[in-house]
């Protein structure tokens, strides 16, 4: 298990290759990568991600451990950035390795659902019109009920 919280960009390809290089016990590797989207209006300049140093690592570790206890996983990776990002930048990624594909998929979706609403990150969108904190979505909270 590897949990990384950092300001710098990460290399999705290098991380995916390193993660998938482990062994022949895990037939299934799933990655999810989150990318800063342009707003509908198309005028997003910067996305600022604030986090709670200390608690962030604890929360991510707890979520990853919960995934490992629920599914048969060979490995879990979580990388999440904070600081200032631009549209198209990669915010975060998770990766799961498992003997079977269903476990790898379910665990990756679980990680994402929990990471959205239970890891202490907050997003602020800065446009030419000003700055707004991104509101939590009811559907993200609802997504937790299926696990």
């Amino acid at each position: 298990m590897r949990i990384v919280v950092q300001e710098e960009a990460f290399d999705l390809g290098a991380e995916a290759n390193a993660f998938a290089a482990k062994d022949a016990a895990n037939g299934a590797i799933v990655t999810f990568t989150g990318v800063v989207r342009d707003l509908a209006a198309g005028d997003l300049d910067v996305m600022e991600i604030e986090h709670y140093p200390g608690m962030t690592e604890r929360a991510l570790t707890k979520i990853a451990e919960e995934a490992q206890s629920r599914w048969s996983l060979g490995d879990v990776l979580v990388i999440h950035r904070h600081g200032r990002l631009a549209p198209g930048d990669r915010i975060m990624m998770v990766a799961t390795a498992a003997p079977h594909r269903k476990d790898a998929f379910d665990a990756a979706e679980f990680l994402m659902d929990y990471l959205k609403s239970r890891a202490p990150f907050w997003k602020k969108e800065i446009t030419s019109d000003g700055a707004d904190w991104v509101a939590a979505k009811d559907e993200d909270e609802d997504a937790l009920t299926r696990w």
């Binding site: 200390g54 608690m55 959205k116 239970r118 890891a119 202490p120 990150f121 907050w122 904190w133 509101a135």
Partner: protein, 81 residues
Amino acid sequence: MDVLYFAWVRERIGLPKERVETEAATVSDLVAELSAREDRYAAAFADLSALRVALDQELSDFDAPLAGVREVAFFPPMTGG
């Protein structure tokens, strides 16, 4: 104890962290105490349903006791991922 604020709670109160000497028994008591201090606290804590609280870096509730707690953090619902 240390009290931390994040996102718009931090902006509304105007600081990220402060040292608070308090006898508050629960999180709600602490919120009431802070809200009585100044308008900016009252504004930040006006709608508790829009807030979350962590005690020593674990998500908790507003009716949780503060005994033994070293760090309290207030913030809006999280938006990671």
